[in-house]
Amino acid sequence: ALPAIATMARAQGGPDPLITEVQDWARYLGDGVDASPYGMPIRFESDVIRRNVSWLTADTISSINFTPIHQLDGTITPAGCAFERHHSGAIELAKPDYRLMINGLVERELIFTYEDLERFPRSQGVYFCECAANSGMEWAGAQLNGSQFTHGMIHNMEYVGVPLKTLLAEAGVKLEGKWIFVEGADASSNGRSIPIEKAVDDVMVAFKANGEALRKEHGYPARLVVPGWEGNLWVKWLRRIEVTAGPVESREETSKYTDTLANGISRKWTWVMDAKSVVTAPSPQVGIKHGPGPMVITGLAWSGRGAITRVDVSTDGGKNWSAARLAQPGAPMAMTRFYLDHVWNGEEMLLQSRAVDDTGYVQPTKTALREIRGENSIYHNNAIQTWWIKKDGSAENVEVS
């Protein structure tokens, strides 16, 4: 009789020709080192791309696309597929044409060139940038089928730039200066008001992301980085910082980015992004294809108020929870990757994740959030997400009791 090991393998059709036959790539030469001076992903990964939802906006110019978080791992978002949100399109602004003005309640109104910026002391940090509308389509119920669409208005990059406090000190903020108003060089300008306390805390004028120059669509050559606060404040193609006595109450902080409660009253100045997490895979776009047995449940967690200290995962819709493994200790205002090493028995699962940050804040359920805010808030939906994993391994966005 054949040894057990051989029987098992024969059952699979005998030796694998991918192993027993010399493949072309093991005989001939591949690409040389001059083939791609700046490389792109291999063609097999052409589905790992930003996607937009055509019915969300009137056109694709003032619109948004979504990071393919369901296919990524680790915490860094590659710039090439980091989500974009513009209000009048991604503009092309060359460094020699770049000017940054500081005006208003300062001792010296100043103009900087791009080269000037590079002469100031720099700081560096990995921060998440989340659109306040991330998960906004889910307020009234499960709507979009995929973590890319429900949670993909976010990226996490390593930024380098000049602390805003350094630039403000250069201009000399007057005592009456309590706010700043920041705007971009694009037609929308996307003006926003930020309290001076935050402005001189950790805000930076960044010119690099993930090591290299900002991409065009992320504000080349310089954007604001406002750690932990909503993405709309991270003004791209930054051209002006005005020190003011009060908030300007611009369109982006009145008509938009205000959160209407059930009673019709709206919260304004909701800047900070509360603790949130999502299981990125398995999820509707990436079902389980391998059947029962060992598997990895993974996702991302982040908090605008500090570092993630813990993420719990439930496979039964929130009846029971287990602490997931954090791939690295949480860092302030940066994404944390979590893993739950699971053995799937092939039965249905209702997958959830729940983030906890170092303030002790625990990510709420959809019910808990709606009890306070109703269903019309659009923004700041940081509720627990549920994926229904079916017996065939496919997954769907659902809500549970």
């Binding site: 939802v53 019915w55 009137a58 110019i61 619109s63 009048s88 208003g104 100043l110 103009i111 900087f112 100031f120 002391p121 700081s123 659109c131 389509m137 307020w139 709507q143 089928n145 995929g146 208005m153 602390p163 350094t166 000190a169 250069e170 929308s188 003006g191 051209r239 002006r240 005005e242 009060g246 300007v248 109450e249 611009s250 369109r251 009145t254 008509s255 980015y257 209407t260 059930a262 009253i265 919260r267 304004k268 100045w269 900070v272 509707p284 929130g318 029971n320 929870w321 804040y361 990510q363 808990a368 269903e375 019309n376 229904w388 769907e396 966005n397 659902v398 809500e399 549970v400 009791s401």
Partner: protein, 220 residues
């Protein structure tokens, strides 16, 4: 063994680097055009509803509709009164915006979409007057000017409170979470597949979502 490591992540505070150059008044004037609720930033000028309607029809109506009622997916700028406490509030200049300064500022800087910063101050006053008119907030003979600007009270001016999550939510959401047997039973109460609005090979037409009356919140 070796010296104490210098690992401060933050650059040291320095008085002044002497970098940059003074901004000229003309330069500040060119870019400092924002307008605040108290009227700060408003230039001299004025405009009446009739002129505003003319300019509006010329520059704006193609997207926002003749009466600012919106068109297709382009934003409505009028209507929606009394809907803020209902499902799917209609938020417009009339029903939602707390300050008139925001209209002036945004229209003057960012509209018309695709051809921004072409409106003069007078044209902006006139169009703003027309938007007030289309929201039934002024009569048809109204003239808006720098002088009477701050007299206009917007209907939803009192409709906003400052972020109160720290008081209202954080105490509740900072309780020790349950880990075991947290609920008796779990039922699925809603499925994305019912709506079927996700783009992709198996997507229904986008209209399916709005036709059946289900909320599809716009992203902003």
């Amino acid at each position: 063994q070796t010296q104490v490591p210098q690992t401060d992540a933050e650059p040291a505070a320095v008085q002044s680097f002497g970098l940059g150059r003074p901004a000229l008044p003309e330069e500040v004037a060119a870019w400092d055009k924002d307008v605040s609720p108290d009227g700060t930033g408003l230039p001299e000028g004025f405009g009446d509803v009739a002129t505003g309607e003319e300019r509006y029809l010329e520059h704006c109506a193609a997207c926002h509709g003749d009466f600012a009622e919106g068109l297709d997916n382009w934003p409505a700028l009028s209507g929606g009164e009394g809907t803020l406490d209902r499902a799917d509030p209609e938020k417009t200049v009339g029903s939602y915006w707390p300050y008139l300064s925001t209209v002036w500022d945004y229209v003057h800087h960012s509209m018309p979409f695709g051809n921004a910063q072409i409106l003069t101050a007078d044209e902006t006053y006139a169009i703003t007057a027309y938007l007030l008119y289309s929201n039934a907030l002024v009569e048809d003979d109204f003239v808006l000017s720098k002088d009477n600007f701050t007299e206009i009270e917007m209907p939803n001016a009192a409709g906003f409170v400052e972020d109160d999550r720290a008081d209202v939510e954080y105490p509740i959401f900072t309780a020790e979470p349950c880990m075991e047997n947290c609920k008796e039973s779990v039922e699925i109460t809603m499925n994305a597949s019912v709506l079927d609005v996700t783009p992709g090979d198996d997507s229904a037409a986008p209209d399916a979502a709005t036709e059946d009356g289900t909320a599809v919140a716009p992203v902003n």
